[in-house]
């Protein structure tokens, strides 16, 4: 506690160091032409366990500008947003509003400082009307709601955004795009000065995106500072005034739009040092294990076709909204496909539920370790045996603890899960070790096909290397692996072939040896002509 205080007290004195010093010089140069930034973040660092999520990041937002933030998944964008909205407190660094240092300790503080954020999934109240949604956060509207006045004001706010729809209908009934508009209107009605938009376009149609940009440009002309996060490069280059690139939790560059090309931006995003050494032992894939033809699920993905061989790693590359996870879920039967066919070892199969998939020898390790991967209050051993529990039951259904412990101990050793014993509850483990338990529980089902969804996201480097070594071993045993990963420097060397997806469509299957980070990312972003 005392240590933290000291750090915080010293902070303003020690802040102007290294890169920050260089940047503040820039800022001073800007100051002549640009007005004072509305919001300014200096030297923000944040650590979660072993992960350095943000490392000395600085960013400023000018009134009336659209500032785009680019970076791969895990570059630290969402943590930065959480710092601005008071959800996460930085370990080091300070935030200034109009040049004054402020403490944003909660969502309410953020609202006080006129900072608002809207997300891919809007946070509306489905049971309230549109107008009520807009004004619910207002404290100064008195005890009694004047419904007519509220309706008129809601219509006026929407008019400022250049849209209109029935504000007296329940928010449950409106489209996602309209819900986002409502959130923007909510922010606007509170005289927001900084609006953060986190992937607002990911679930919108082209027409809706056009409308959203109309709204955004109106807000800009009204002097709002907008931080715009999107994976769609064409959108970023269409609307942004300045573009900041982040990578591995660090600030890389901030450039006015005219001085940056999409190709250059992609290079900055992927130009990361490969600090970890990935290498696969040479191996030759065997017979075709899984054949997937024109697989699709209404509203998620269409036309996915590939073969997976024994002892092969097929990488799935793509960005947020590429729907790679949905393909995994279809193969595992959680959200079954509704078109196309699947053949396993030459036999046509229908996978309707996870039990069917497990019976066929298909396992899926989820990307959402926290929400879906583990039963947190349960021990490592019972987590590892949960999907294959049938194997450890006596005829009358009693768990054979001895056999269970043997298998759990085997995996603890094989995956070097660091825990006092296999009886330790899963919630007591670090992220990396939890991930190893997730992998162990699927390996215990002795799968033929193993789908790994973001197997190394959010885990420390040591664990990453161990996961990679494990994949290498599994391949040598003839298991076919589908590896979904947003970490291209990892995916390229680990895969034999790479399937690139973009917005629910399969773009290409590339030989991993010939693919480059730029070529894959360009395809995933729909920027086929860039990067030479």
């Amino acid at each position: 506690m005392a240590e933290r205080d000291e750090e915080a007290t010293e902070q303003p004195l020690s802040a102007p160091a290294d890169g920050v010093a260089a940047r503040s010089a820039d800022d001073q140069a800007d100051a002549a032409s640009a007005p004072q930034p509305v919001l300014e973040m200096r030297g923000i660092s944040k650590r979660f366990g072993e992960i350095q999520a943000l490392d000395d990041v600085s960013l400023d937002l000018q009134p009336g500008e659209i500032h785009a933030l680019l970076g791969e998944n895990g570059a630290g964008k969402s943590t930065l947003i959480k710092v601005m909205t008071g959800v996460v407190q930085p370990d080091v660094g300070d935030i200034r509003i109009d040049g004054q240092p402020v403490h944003i300790g909660s969502a309410f503080d953020a609202q006080t400082y006129a900072v608002a954020a809207i997300y891919q999934e809007p946070m509306v109240f489905p049971d309230l009307t549109v107008a009520e949604n807009i004004f619910i956060g207002h404290r100064d509207r008195g005890l009694i709601v004047n419904r007519r006045k509220m309706r008129e004001e809601a219509q006026a706010v929407l008019a400022r955004l250049g849209v209109q729809f029935d504000v007296m209908q329940q928010a449950r009934g409106i489209t996602l795009a309209q819900q986002q508009t409502v959130e923007i209107a909510k922010a606007l009605s509170l005289d927001v000065r900084v609006l953060i938009m986190d992937e607002p376009t990911a679930s919108l149609s082209a027409h809706e995106v056009g409308q959203l940009f109309g709204i955004v440009s109106r807000l800009r002309s009204q002097g709002v500072a907008i931080l715009f996060i999107s994976h769609r490069l064409e959108e970023v280059f269409l609307v942004a005034d300045r573009i900041t690139v982040m990578r591995d939790g660090r600030w890389i560059s901030t450039t006015p739009r005219p001085e940056l090309t999409p190709g250059a931006a992609i290079r900055q995003m992927v130009g990361r040092e490969i600090t970890e050494f990935f290498a696969r032992s040479p191996s030759t894939p065997g017979d075709v294990l899984l054949e997937v033809r024109e697989l699709g699920r209404e509203g998620a993905f269409t036309g996915v076709s590939f073969d997976l061989r024994e002892g092969e790693v097929l990488g799935f590359a793509g960005l947020v909204g590429a729907r790679r996870t949905d393909v995994g879920l279809a193969l595992f039967g959680i959200a079954p496909a509704d078109s196309g066919e699947i053949r396993l070892e030459g036999e046509a199969v229908r996978i309707r539920d996870p039990q069917e998939a497990l019976r066929l020898g298909i396992a899926y390790a989820t990307e959402d370790r926290r929400g879906l991967g583990l039963i947190f209050s349960q021990s490592i051993a019972s987590n590892i045996t949960l999907p294959s529990l049938g194997k450890y039951l006596s005829r009358i259904g009693i768990t054979q603890r001895a056999a269970e412990r043997v298998i759990a101990e085997t995996f603890r050793e094989r995956l070097s899960i660091r825990a006092p014993s296999v009886d330790t509850p899963a919630l007591a483990l670090s992220g990396g070790n939890q991930q190893k338990v997730v992998l162990a529980k699927w390996l215990a089902t002795t799968p033929k096909v193993l789908i790994l969804d973001e197997p190394t996201r959010g885990i420390d480097v040591g664990s990453k290397v161990e996961v990679h070594r494990l994949i290498d071993e599994l391949v040598a045993q003839g298991i076919g692996i589908i590896m979904i990963s947003s970490d291209l420097p990892e995916l390229l060397p680990m895969s034999d072939r790479i399937l690139v997806m973009r917005e629910g469509r399969q773009m290409a299957i590339l030989d991993a040896k010939e693919a480059t980070q730029e070529s894959v990312l360009s395809m995933a972003m729909g920027q086929v002509e860039t990067t030479t």
């Binding site: 049971d127 709601v145 419904r147 056009g210 940009f213 440009s217």
Partner: protein, 354 residues
């Protein structure tokens, strides 16, 4: 025609209209089966039977809207009716105003205990109120001599209160207690619809995460909901005393279940976020009507009434989840289609590029 319907009727009103239709159909059905069913006496009976349930239901709805529940309302009624009844029996000269104020004040106090434990103590409402339900009644037994309150010991004005008729047409009476209950329904329906506090209750139950992000004073609002629920339970306790007169410490046992039933049948979502006071009142009327009908209908044993009530609750919840959800979707689609066709020019104007 279709679009007019969509404009004037909202999905949440479908429940109230359906209840109304069911009530009318049931009335007509019983009228064909029971001689003289459609009479002033039936009206009088139904309206005398519901006031306590309705007043408690209104209070409980405030709590249920926020995704909580209050199982202690039956015990609160017992504490108030027995406690105040005892005081009144000992000192019959107490003024009616003080008696009512005292009833409500005791309710407020007990509601505040629940509110503190749930909103500020973070104890799940079902656990907290299960506990206070036992606690309130036991305190009542401990601090009193458990001597029953009887009409003979109560002053005349309270015994007569239940019989006061505001309007009397032959055998159709409009008595005072149902009028008070109706006033409570109207006041709180207006609160839900027009007060910002009422709208916040919907917001909290509708999406607690969003309510948190929007910076709503959730704890305070939930606390106040429990206090109001307690206050109405206090008023209900007074009405209970006026209606029954003979009260012991075991009065109103299980009353909370009847009230929860009325609330659920009245279309209040048990997981919060939707419901109306009118619906609760209609729910209570429907339950009492089934009761009254079965008592007088020769074809079916009156003992079947609780079995039917169970079925009614199940149907109400199932229709809410299964049918109403679907209806909402159809509604939304229709509205959207309508909007899109009428609003093309505006849409293109909004889509202008810088």
């Amino acid at each position: 025609m279709r679009s007019a319907l969509f404009r004037h009727v909202r999905p949440e009103q479908v429940r109230e209209i359906t209840l109304l239709i069911i009530i009318v159909l049931l009335l007509l059905f019983f009228a064909t089966q029971i001689p003289n069913f459609l009479s002033g006496r039936t009206f009088t009976r139904v309206t005398t039977a519901i006031p306590v349930t309705v007043v408690l239901g209104v209070g409980l709805t405030l709590v249920v809207l926020t995704r909580n529940i209050d199982l202690s309302i039956g015990a609160t009624v017992a504490v108030v009716s027995y406690g105040v009844g005892t005081l009144l029996a000992n000192d019959p000269s107490m003024s009616p105003v003080i008696v009512i104020a005292l009833s409500v004040a005791i309710g407020v106090g007990l509601g505040a205990i629940n509110g503190v434990i749930v909103a500020y103590g973070g104890v799940p409402a079902i656990v907290a109120t299960l506990g206070t339900m036992a606690l309130f009644r036991s305190v009542l037994v401990t601090i009193t001599d458990s001597r029953p309150v009887t009409t003979a010991r109560l002053p005349d004005w309270i015994v007569d209160l239940n019989g006061i008729r505001l309007i009397s047409l032959e055998d159709l009476d409009v008595r005072i207690l149902p009028v008070i209950a109706l006033a409570v329904v109207i006041v709180f329906q207006l609160l839900l619809r027009y007060a910002s506090y009422g709208r916040r209750l919907f917001a909290i139950g509708s999406n607690p995460d969003a309510a948190h992000v929007a910076g709503l004073p959730m704890k305070r609002d939930v606390f106040v909901a429990f206090v109001l629920c307690g206050a109405l339970a206090g008023l209900g306790g007074f009405m209970y005393m006026a209606r029954f007169g003979n009260i012991d410490t075991q009065s109103a046992v299980g009353l909370e279940l009847v009230v929860v039933a009325a609330v659920v049948v009245g279309g209040v979502n048990i997981f919060g976020g939707s419901g109306s006071m009118i619906g609760v009142m209609l729910g209570a009327i429907l339950i009492v009507l089934v009761d009254q009908g079965l008592i007088r209908w020769a074809a079916i044993s009156e003992f079947l009434r609780d079995a039917l009530l169970g079925l009614l609750i199940l149907l109400a919840v199932a229709s809410d989840t299964v049918i109403l959800e679907r209806l909402r979707l159809i509604w939304a689609r229709a509205r959207r289609a309508e909007e899109e066709s009428s609003r093309e020019p505006a849409a293109t104007a909004g889509g202008e590029q810088p």
